[in-house]
């Protein structure tokens, strides 16, 4: 085991937590991520492997499958993100490569993203000040790519529905955090 200590995206050793009017925003460093892109001509087989992994249907456009331990959301045509707890899946990309074989291109994505969990009553009001998505129409299991203050993000509605997960570019973690907390303070 190597001896380098990881840092959270906000540069802390421990994840950051903010609470505004009962809504919490938590930096979540425990998520391993990898993208799965079907190889041309292997689309069906790739979906099959993904379906087996998720023990059910694969996510369609705009959707996530909130399965444990591996979950997934749709990123683009024949392209998905797979996430899992990093404690058990630090080598997620390698695991997926084994599973998918030559049916998909797998890319390590864990450190490309910062993950924030926003939970509580009123999260919709905060999101309305951030992103041009119809948050009221988003149900548990919906996943949308959108923009928060120039930063491309994914917003996922989790279970329970008072829980949103926001994935943003890791290098902009601080700016995204600032945008989210500012919106929470303005809206809540």
């Amino acid at each position: 085991m190597h001896d380098l200590a990881p840092l959270c995206a906000l540069s802390g050793a421990e994840p950051r937590v903010d609470v505004v009017a009962g809504v919490t925003l938590t930096e979540n460093p425990t998520l391993a991520l990898a993208s799965v892109m079907a190889r041309q001509g292997h689309e069906a087989a790739c979906r099959g492997h993904l379906s087996a992994l998720l023990e059910g249907p694969v996510p369609e456009p705009g959707k996530a499958i909130l399965h444990d331990p591996e979950a997934s959301f749709w990123m683009g045509p024949d392209q998905w993100m797979v996430g899992a707890p990093s404690a058990t899946h630090e080598d997620l990309a390698a695991q997926l490569r084994l599973r998918f074989g030559n049916t998909a291109s797998i890319t390590e994505q864990t450190d490309a993203w910062v993950c924030y969990d926003m939970r509580g009553d009123g999260i919709e009001d905060a999101i309305r000040l951030c992103a041009n998505i119809d948050i009221d129409q988003m149900q548990t299991g919906d996943a949308q790519r959108t923009v928060i203050h120039y930063m491309g993000v994914y917003v996922l509605r989790r279970d329970p529905a008072t829980w949103l997960r926001i994935l943003g570019p890791r290098s902009s973690a601080k700016s995204l955090h600032h945008a989210l907390v500012t919106a929470m303070r303005a809206a809540l």
């Binding site: 085991m1 190597h2 001896d3 380098l4 200590a5 990881p6 840092l7 959270c8 995206a9 540069s11 460093p29 993208s35 892109m37 079907a38 190889r39 041309q40 001509g41 392209q79 291109s105 890319t107 390590e108 994505q109 864990t110 450190d111 490309a112 993203w113 309305r128 000040l129 992103a131 041009n132 998505i133 119809d134 009221d136 129409q137 203050h149 120039y150 930063m151 570019p169 890791r170 290098s171 902009s172 973690a173 601080k174 700016s175 995204l176 600032h178 945008a179 500012t182 919106a183 303070r185 303005a186």
Partner: protein, 984 residues
């Protein structure tokens, strides 16, 4: 002060008394007042001065169409110039000051302009101020600019925050009067997602301003009850203080919610205003109508107002501009004002009706067929003179005159996508045309149906039809009973006079100006507007445009619709610029991207610089270093002598996979990639389709079907977009998959002769870094520090033996610390962008300064890289003759002849002995630095036929910065031209 003109009743809250100040005087008002209503209640009519002639002015309206009563609201950093007193909500402690006057509102020295008005006729400035020519900027214009503008800015940073937000709905209802409320009830009860916006702080529109009964109760009470019902519906969002400012494509509306403008200071963390972008499936415009004036001589004195405004002040705000009021009207609605005022105990001295068949009244005096001939009162109306129908003048003492020239539907938003309203002769008004913004319908007075009953009905029916269109079933609303008075109007636009009668009050455009414009052939409505400035003031002609058109029609002998109508454009009312910016200002203008070593670099005291959105370490000063050059030189020297470390994470990284990945790269790079072996990196030049260099970088082949492509920091987004274009649009059948991994990997350059030794201390056992096992341009996946997966590339930007190592970003901080620790014995230095730049110039490597979007591979000395043996993007158009001329620019190195001289970037190159003029220009310097290794300044630049001019002494000129000296043309590779160090 007593509120001497305060009446009984109204919708103000007398339980809350606010103290406020206008200019130096303190007054009292109540919650629910506007600044204008509170001032009127205190007997103040004079609130402003006009733009050109500095005429004394009071409020003309009770709403957002106000041209006259505009003030500087608040003080200090929160000062808001040009604020309409008629919409500014009163709060305790409010401060406002009059504007565009000196020294005081009552005595304004600039009113001398009024006496000289004969000289200031429309367009006068186009005919004069031309002699002598030099006097314009020096004499005339400074005088004009001294008089420019209305209010003044604080000139200090706005202390308040703004937000932008996003809303989605089935139906957006714009305006909460009877039509809007009936529509909202219908749609809300039908289950549609509804947003109801109203610019007022009290929703209800004219229901709050009138005495009409609705459903057996007072109109205002019905409105309040209805609003409460709507607010209780989860599918309805009721938004008071929210102005819909623009109708944009595909059902998108901009709306500004004034969250905190009714407070002295916004609450902590809360915005002053929010710009909502509303995405609607349908919109129903229920914006009501605006009463227009009749134009007559001296019709601009404080106290002369819209008749409907006089009754609005009486009914809603329980105030009157004066105890004795006269009315001037051409329609029945003017009489409504008279009866409302009487009911409030205000004396109606006379109703002058232009119509010979005017209705009579037993309650007040009516002059049928009379017109206003003249008015008196310097700072406020004291007397009117009426031209009687049978001749003769009647003088009437009064402090206010309500004028009613009929009503204009508020069609503004219907025009935002090019629709032009059409003339309705019966109403004597423009009404919305059939060409509306797609998805919009119009109801209520905005369509020209003016009775309360028909407004309620058209709102309800409009909503029902929209819901049916959306497939939502709505039941018919049980309409409450309301008045259904027909419109009776006889067109009458202005009382003819040889003197001045104001059409556009704020900009001081008179009927005479319009006639002059006609006389000079500025007849087209747009010429009229631009020549006279009619309709260009802060009210955008809401009360003046139609009268102006009517007068032009009359002098041109045309019908009004033949003269045309003017376009209304966003915003509907003037809108604070800050709200469009939202939170994007100051340091938050754009997001900031931080490198993985940022925290560590901060600890080292690094100085940072912007590179695109990234913050990158520019240099790392050591104690005692007082100038950046000292740090930079040290970093360069130490790196070339031993070893240095630089965070290069910001370079774009793209994962390219698939069985056709190599063929794909072969297509996008002008040089060959098909045969690059696994475990090797290659430099690649990417062209735009027009043959100009887009970007350069490297591609590392990690596996047969797996490459990692790097881009420059600046072009990462553009290159990715381009690659997706090629992949999806030009090579749709290639098996290629791509994803950006820029943020996923922390990447560090380790450069210098000791870089291998340093690296050997952190790589795991079994990783062979020897030159044989891992030669220049090798790459591979390795483990370090006891098992951490990493990618290693033997590439060099500095020209030294160098590597770039990448680890998952979360370990970047730990890795840089470990590398620094491991390098202690070699006196390793971190180096920043400055040192990086020096080393790459010394090596002759191009960067953004050279890849400036106009340079070709040929210019860069890499013309041979453009393969003719294959098709790649840009290769064909790079063959054009103009890009391959004999004297084409070539990248060269430059050294000063006098070693003390600089070779500054941006200087131009001239052949010795030629005149320093543009036609002799031979090229320019792109990048320059001091080279601590060569001990002099050096530079890269482009020179015509430069590759054949090595050794030539050339003249370097920068007249802009006072440089003119000689430089020697040399090879761009100042350091290690053979590349031995790279391969060591």
């Amino acid at each position: 002060m007593t509120q001497k003109n305060r009446l009984d009743g109204g919708l103000i809250d007398r339980s809350e008394t606010f103290s406020f100040r206008f200019d130096s005087q303190y007054y009292k008002g109540h919650k629910g007042d506007t600044l204008a209503s509170a001032l009127l209640a205190n007997g103040v009519r004079l609130m402003g001065r006009s733009f050109k002639y500095h005429r004394p002015r009071g409020p003309m309206t009770a709403g957002s169409e106000e041209p006259n009563a505009i003030v500087e609201l608040r003080e200090g950093t929160r000062k808001e110039p040009n604020t309409r007193a008629t919409t500014a909500e009163l709060y305790d402690g409010l401060r406002a000051n009059s504007q565009n006057r000196w020294p005081s509102l009552k005595f304004d020295a600039m009113q001398v302009n009024d006496l000289l008005s004969n000289f200031f006729a429309a367009g006068f400035y186009y005919k004069t101020f031309m002699w002598p020519a030099a006097f314009w900027e020096k004499v005339y214009e400074p005088i004009i600019r001294r008089a420019a503008g209305l209010g003044s800015l604080s000139t200090q940073d706005d202390p308040d925050g703004y937000d932008k937000g996003f809303l989605h709905c089935d139906l957006l209802i714009i305006g909460g009067g009877p039509a809007g409320l009936a529509a909202a009830l219908t749609a809300g009860e039908g289950g549609a997602r509804v947003i109801l916006c109203d610019e007022d702080f009290l929703i209800g529109g004219r229901l709050n301003l009138e005495t009409y009964a609705v459903g057996g109760m007072e109109g205002a009470a019905w409105a309040a009850e209805t609003v409460a019902r709507l607010q209780a519906m989860p599918n309805v969002r009721v938004m008071p203080r929210t102005t819909v400012i623009g109708a944009f494509d595909h059902g998108i509306y901009g709306a500004v919610e004034r969250v905190s403008d009714h407070l002295a200071v916004p609450e902590d963390g809360k915005p002053r205003q929010i710009l909502w972008r509303i995405t609607s499936k349908r919109a129903l415009l229920c914006a009501g109508a605006t009463e227009r004036p009749i134009v007559f001589e001296n019709n601009d004195r404080p106290g002369i107002m819209q008749a409907s405004a006089v009754r609005a002040y009486a009914n809603r705000w329980a105030t009157t501009p004066a105890q004795q009021v006269a009315i001037f009207t051409n329609n029945d609605d003017g009489h409504r004002t008279a009866s409302d005022l009487l009911a409030k105990g205000v004396e109606v001295v006379s109703v002058i009706d232009t119509r010979a068949d005017a209705p009579t009244s037993s309650d007040y005096d009516v002059v049928a067929g009379g017109v206003i001939d003249q008015t008196w009162g310097r700072l406020g109306l004291t007397r009117i003179e009426v031209k009687m129908p049978k001749g003769g003048i009647r003088r009437i003492k009064c402090g206010a005159l309500g004028v009613s020239g009929g009503w204009n539907p508020n069609v503004h938003l219907t025009c935002h996508q090019g629709g032009r309203p059409v003339w309705n002769e019966a109403l004597a008004a423009f009404v919305p045309s059939g060409t509306l913004p797609p998805g919009m319908t119009v109801a209520g007075a905005a369509t020209g149906v003016f009775s309360t009953h028909s407004a309620l009905q058209s709102g309800a029916e409009g909503a029902k039809a929209i819901l049916a269109d959306l497939g939502i079933k709505a039941s018919a609303l049980a309409l409450p009973g309301a008045e259904d008075t027909p419109v009776r109007i006889t067109q009458f636009w202005h009382v003819k006079t040889a003197k001045r009668a104001w059409v556009d009050q704020q900009n001081d455009v008179t009927a005479k100006d319009i006639k002059l414009a006609h006389q000079e052939n500025y007849v087209s409505v747009e010429h009229l507007k631009r020549y006279t400035t009619l309709g260009m003031a802060t009210d955008q002609g809401k009360t003046s445009n139609i009268a102006g058109l009517a007068i032009m029609a009359e002098v041109a002998g045309k019908a009004i619709p033949e003269v045309g109508t003017t376009m209304f454009r966003p915003p509907y009312t003037p809108t604070a610029m800050g709200v469009f910016a939202g939170r994007a200002w100051g340091m938050d203008t754009k997001p900031t991207r931080l490198t993985p070593s940022h925290t560590w670099a901060e600890e080292q005291g690094a100085v940072f610089t912007e590179a695109g959105l990234w913050l990158r370490a520019q240099w790392y000063p050591k104690p005692g270093e007082t100038h950046w050059r000292q740090s930079c030189d040290r970093e360069v020297i130490q790196t070339r002598k031993s070893v240095g470390i630089c965070d290069v994470t910001s370079l774009g990284k793209i994962d390219v996979q698939g069985t056709d990945a190599a063929a794909f790269l072969n297509k996008v790079y002008c040089n060959g990639f098909a045969k690059l072996p696994v475990g090797k990196v290659r430099y690649g030049l990417m062209l735009r389709e027009d043959g100009i260099v887009m970007d350069d970088g490297t591609a590392a082949r990690l596996a047969e079907d797996h490459f990692v492509v790097t881009t420059t920091t600046a072009k990462a987004v553009q290159v990715y977009r381009h690659l997706e274009f090629v992949r999806q649009c030009l090579c749709p059948n290639m098996d290629v998959q791509m994803i950006s991994t820029t943020d996923a990997w922390a990447q560090f350059a380790i450069a210098g002769p000791n870089s291998r030794k340093l690296l050997e201390k952190v790589v795991d056992d079994g990783v062979d870094l020897s030159n044989e096992a891992f030669p220049f341009m090798a790459c591979g996946e390795i483990t370090i520090c006891g098992g951490l997966s990493a990618r290693l590339f033997r590439i060099s930007f500095s020209g030294e033996l160098a590597y770039e190592i990448a680890v998952p970003t979360r370990y970047g901080d730990a890795l840089v610390r470990r590398l620094m620790q491991a390098g202690e014995e070699y006196e390793v230095v971190p180096y920043g962008l400055e040192a990086l730049n020096v080393m790459r110039i010394e090596k002759g490597h191009a960067t953004a300064n050279e890849l400036n979007g106009t340079t070709t591979a040929l210019n860069l000395g890499m013309g041979k890289m453009v393969s003719k043996a294959k098709d790649s993007i840009g290769s064909k158009l790079s063959e054009r003759t103009g890009l391959n001329e004999a004297d084409a620019l070539k990248l060269v190195g430059l050294k000063p002849v006098n070693p003390d001289h600089k070779v500054p970037a941006g200087a131009h190159l001239m052949t010795k002995g030629t005149e320093v003029i543009a036609t002799n220009d031979q090229g320019y310097v792109t990048s320059a630095c001091y080279s601590p290794n060569l001990g002099c300044h050096i530079a890269l630049g482009f020179l015509k036929s430069g590759d054949t001019r090595i050794g030539e002494i050339i003249r370097l000129v920068s007249p802009l910065t006072g440089v003119d000296h000689d430089a020697e043309v040399v090879s761009p590779h100042f350091v290690d031209p053979e590349g031995d160090r790279l391969r060591a």
